[in-house]
Amino acid sequence: MSNIELINDKNLDCSFAIFKDANLTLESGSILKNFKLAYKTFGSINKNKSNAILVCHALTGDQYVSGHNPITGKDGWWSRMVGPNKPIDTNKFFVICSNVLGGCAGSTGPKETKENEQNIYGRDFPSVTIKDIVNAQVKLLDALEIDQLFSVVGGSMGAMQALQWSIDFPNRVQSIIHIAGALKHSAQNIAFHEVGRQAIMNDPNWHKGNYTENNAIPERGLSVARMIAHITYLSEDAMHRKFGRKLQSRDIISFGFDADFQIESYLRYQGRSFVERFDANSYLYLTRAMDYFDHSESYRKTLEFVNNQKNNIKYLVISFTSDWLFPTKENKEIVEILNSLSRNVSFLEIDTDKGHDSFLLDEPELDYVIKGFFNSNYGKINE
């Protein structure tokens, strides 16, 4: 019998759900006997527990979706979307956000200590997939005694989780908002992830994943990985608009390899600051989880499967015109399957030059559609 403990951590300004003897079987076959999830909630649950929204974070996100993040000292990663009177209104909805399994903001992952041991997992951490991440979230929902979520919402890797919820737990979600995701991680996306992982693993400080024992951090590798990834989150137009060929703190080029250009300086800064908040092994594990995500063959069949015939989930799929990491075409693949099966699906392509990262940025149409979708459907479902 599993034993669940929910505790509040004042220093980290979040809660922990500690699952003992939970024996979480992972897709790889490994079993996590004990694990914990760091999470935060916002707003309050209503009497019939019908107003809960699970927000799923992207690759490098965490449980600090709104309010203050004590680790970075900045606002939560989706503060502009989630909060009182925000599009996801915490005066109305009970919002839950947990750090994914394999993450590095408190949930069980490579930088946490092993069960009943002093040592951390490091490379001994088992491989996790999006399905495993969702299975762990389900345990959290059980612990919070919430049978059905009003919605699961996420962008990028968060969209993958939202989709996975709708596939594996169709009876526990009333709606999903899937932003800038896909049915599968494309070859190009795997390629970019692989370059990032190679940068980390080729850093002499990586020590085959045991850098903590060696009092080292593979900073250079991790920051290069972040720099590459960051390029994929932007678009050519946005990069040109923001930086162009402008020089950084100089009037003439140096004829050397300093950061002459503003874009170089910006990427270096992104890389440096990322190292301070993210664990290199976590980066390896979570990029891998995304790479393994593939429902291109099974999705249609899963939806047609007899148990899902009564699936009344409301789906909203959103893409961005300038997103080349998870382009409209890939988001539309999901919509096409759902429409071919006459599911309750809506789709919107938002016109923006801000690339994949648009879902985190100021996009009034995104705010408007999310707010409208939640408020009108909440009224419809619970009237």
């Binding site: 909203l316 006459s342 809506s346 789709f347 009224g379």
Partner: protein, 227 residues
């Protein structure tokens, strides 16, 4: 097209042609007011497709199932006879390939409801005859160079096309320019002259839903149109 009252009248007539609890797809649904009305009044299960981002956005925010897409390209995703009714209201004349669209309506829906402005109306005929210029009316308010309406046709043209395509006209209702409705078949006056706006309920004669059903349609985009 910009006449709200006439559009509402058009919608009420469309509603009168639809049975309760039906599955409905509205092509060019705008911000979804028609499907919202049908969902409410007929407890219908409604979907829409809309090309304009601004309008699709508003429809989705109302809690409706709206797919932002182009009917000329994106109808393939809908399965054969997955809807009871497919509606094309005041849009056929703006389509690049109206015949292909018509075929698609009756592939996706068991029945199709099509409404359009009649280019054979007497006012339009007189304008062309006496002014010698492309007519501009309340229903067709655009100049020739900036009109979204690229295929002008008359009631008779449409009836002939249906007959050529073996489409059965189950019902046809005309509206005069004063908004008076009448049965096109039972009209004593020549319908092609007095009809300002027409609404047709269409189907195929030998409708065999099971034979037509294809589950792998979207993976085989060349074979989508079946009749």
């Amino acid at each position: 097209m910009n006449n709200l009252r006439s559009i509402r009248k058009d919608w009420d007539l469309i509603e009168s042609l639809i049975k309760d609890n039906s599955r409905i797809l509205d092509i060019g649904c705008g911000e979804g007011d028609l499907i919202q009305q049908l969902e409410k009044n007929l407890t219908a299960k409604v979907h829409g497709i809309e090309k304009s981002r601004e309008l699709a956005l508003k429809g989705i925010a109302k809690g409706l199932n709206v797919t932002h897409g182009d009917a000329e390209k994106d109808l393939l995703q809908y399965s054969n006879h997955s809807f009871d009714y497919v509606i094309l209201s005041q849009t056929l004349q703006a389509m690049i390939k109206p015949k292909k669209i018509l075929k698609e309506l009756l592939r996706i829906g068991s029945k199709a409801i099509v409404s359009f402005p009649n280019f054979g109306h007497w006012k339009i005929r007189l304008q062309l005859l006496f002014n010698g210029k492309m007519p501009i009316t309340e229903g067709l308010p655009y100049s020739w160079y900036d009109t979204p309406n690229i295929h002008f046709f008359t009631l008779k043209d449409f009836q002939n096309l249906c007959s050529e395509m073996n489409i059965v006209i189950e019902n046809s209702i005309g509206l005069t320019n004063k908004g008076k409705q009448f049965s096109i078949n039972g009209s004593l006056l020549p319908a092609n002259i007095i009809t300002n706006e027409a609404i047709f309920l269409l189907s195929y004669k030998d409708f065999e839903p099971i034979k037509l059903k294809s589950t792998n349609k979207i993976f085989n985009k060349n074979s989508a149109i079946v009749n």
